[in-house]
């Protein structure tokens, strides 16, 4: 229960409480020692007092006895000279009595005894001694007889009272000094016990400080050092008390945040490196892609300029120059498209157009480009009206067809098909080429992604499909593919049909979109 209560206190509170407890304990020890000391002093004082009372009482008694003795000697010897002690005692008596009375004033019982004694002594002096002196002037034998009878009785009485006074004073002294000694011993014992307890507590307090503060703080410092040296997985055990525990929690939180921030930075870094790599690859691709057609253009132009050829050959070479120059131009268009897409300036000029006719035109264009491939077109006889940018759609179809030809280097059938699919129009371009390895399929629409094709000798910028997807999606359509490595690839795309314009709309009708 104490632990629980301690645990809920802050470290500051705990230290304060412990310090206060120790201070109170030490103060208690001091008080006990002071009490013991004052008890001892009081006992000494009382002893001295008792000694003084005894001395005063004995002196008084001697005085009275001296006086009585002088009186008796006088009545026996009849010489007035021997009365000197009597008169001296008579003179001193009031002072001695008052001194004794003063000494016992604080003790009512003794004061009463002294008062009685004083009365007795006065009585002895006034009613007996003075009377005896008067009688002695008349008759010494009578005075002598009085001293023997009356005098003896009175002196015995006085002595008895003195004895009683001394006895009771003595008894009281013994009593008091015993109790004072007891108190002093008790106080000393308490003081010693308190002192031992404070010593033990101070040691325990020190141990507690070491265990609960120094150890965790050292552990935190070691953790911080490890952390600073780069071990971001460093965490502290959150077991310290109060503020130290808060420090540990704060450290762990900070460590967690830093580690997270670094993970994020690393992820960003990886992304940046990837984009940097893609850019480098792009520069390589661009320069390679541009250089190949450029080499043809420059080389054939140079040959044509410097050498003589027959008309046929010259035409052939010029045809190559023309085709390669166009290839250059379309490459540059691709790069510009990418820039437009990236800058969000990709604008489409929408028209109502017949997709069937567009496919027809494109297939004618590509049919002449490869002798090894058989291009088959399958479109329904009815028009396929869609709303779109004819140049951009031509670009997409052209790209898919050129890919199909490019990636089936051994020739084969390339099929271009279109069909109505509900409200939409679905187009497919199928080839019997090398296909796309499963591993590379996820990246196929990524800009500058060329898979293993970069070193394959099959040219390309890695832009065609990225641009195509952008165009199709801008038209509100979708593009996708199925492929099996070594068997071929089928790209498909779906475009929303133009609503309200059915199959009966006149073929070739085109409406300019404002």
């Amino acid at each position: 229960m104490t632990r629980f209560r301690l645990g809920s206190l802050s470290l500051e509170g705990r230290l304060l409480a412990a310090s206060c407890l120790l201070a109170i304990l030490v103060a208690g020890v001091f008080v006990a020692f002071i009490l013991a000391l004052s008890s001892l002093r009081k006992a000494t004082r009382e002893e001295t007092q008792a000694k003084n009372v005894t001395t005063a009482a004995l002196q008084l008694e001697n005085l009275v006895l001296d006086a009585d003795n002088a009186l008796r000697t006088y009545v026996l010897t009849r010489r007035p000279r021997v009365l000197a002690p009597y008169y001296s005692a008579k003179k001193q008596l009031p002072l001695r009595l008052s001194k004794l009375q003063h000494l016992v004033a604080k003790d009512p019982a003794q004061a009463r005894r002294v008062t009685e004694l004083s009365t007795e002594i006065q009585d002895y002096r006034v009613t007996f001694a003075e009377a005896v002196l008067v009688i002695a002037k008349e008759s010494f034998p009578a005075a002598r007889s009085a001293t023997k009878t009356e005098g003896n009785r009175r002196v015995a009485d006085i002595r008895m009272r003195f004895a009683e006074l001394l006895r009771s004073e003595n008894a009281r002294t013994v009593d008091r000094s015993e109790s004072a000694s007891d108190r002093s011993q008790r106080a000393t014992a308490i003081g010693v016990a308190g002192l031992s307890a404070s010593t033990v507590l101070i040691i325990l307090f020190g141990l507690y400080l070491a265990r609960s503060i120094a150890h965790p703080v050292r552990a935190a410092a070691a953790g911080a050092t490890r952390f600073a040296e780069g071990d971001l997985s460093t965490r502290l055990e959150e077991s310290g008390p109060g503020e130290v525990g808060e420090l540990e929690r704060a450290f762990n939180e900070m460590a967690e945040r830093l580690a997270r921030a670094r993970r994020e930075l690393e992820a960003q870094n990886t992304q940046l490196r990837e984009s940097e790599r893609l850019k480098t690859e792009l520069v390589n691709t661009v320069s390679h892609e541009l250089r190949t057609p450029l080499a043809s253009v420059l080389g054939f132009t140079s040959i044509l300029l410097s050498r003589e050829f027959g008309a046929e050959t010259r035409r052939h070479y010029l045809g190559i120059v023309d085709a390669q120059a166009r290839r250059l131009s379309s490459l540059i268009d691709d790069f510009l498209d990418v820039r437009r897409i990236e800058q969000g300036r990709f604008e489409l000029a929408y028209e109502l157009l017949d997709l069937g006719a567009l496919l027809q035109e494109e297939s004618e264009l590509y049919r002449g480009q490869s002798g090894k491939h058989r291009l088959e077109l399958a479109v329904p006889p009815d028009p396929l009206p869609v709303r779109g940018d004819p140049d951009r759609l031509r670009q997409v179809i052209g790209n898919l067809l050129s890919n199909a030809i490019k990636y089936s280097p051994d020739g084969g059938i390339v099929e271009l098909a279109a069909e109505r699919d509900g409200d939409a129009v679905r187009i497919q371009v199928r080839d019997e080429g090398v296909g796309i390895p499963v591993k590379q399929q996820p990246g196929i629409f990524t800009k500058f992604f060329r898979g293993d094709m970069a070193g394959s000798g099959i040219g390309g910028t890695g832009l065609g499909l990225a641009v195509s997807r952008d165009i199709v999606e801008s038209h509100g359509g979708r593009i996708g593919f199925t492929s099996a490595e070594g068997e071929g690839t089928t790209f498909w795309l779906e475009l929303p049909g133009a609503n309200g314009v059915g199959g009966d709309s006149p073929q070739g009708e085109q409406a300019q979109e404002s």
Binding site: S287, R291, P293, A295, S306, I320, A323, G457, G459
Partner: protein
Amino acid sequence: MRKAFNTKPQMKDEKLILICEDEPTLRELIRASLNGAYEFAEARDGFDALGLARELTPDAVVLDLMLPRKSGFEVLAELREDERLRSIPVLVMTAWSDMLDDALAAGADAFISKPFDPDDLKIAVDELLAGQ
């Protein structure tokens, strides 16, 4: 130059040049550049190139470094390892002029960068054949 060359005693009537280039128009350009003065064999990729080299033992090889299936560097290395083909002069061509040192270190005898001047190519090939 070609005349002086032709006066030398020859094993074959015409020198055989193996052209290794994946781009068809460039193969044609190379042929046209060399002015049809030689016999030509053509390979579209690295595999074909090595196969044809072993089969025909050409007098010189014009080798593009960026070839499908097997790069020009690999082709060059294998040619240099082959006892019979080791001494065939090889002219490498690439769009990457910074590959010059690597290509020469790998055993190329001459280097031409794309785009190239047809006359330069012809001179380079003629020199290779003359130095044989």
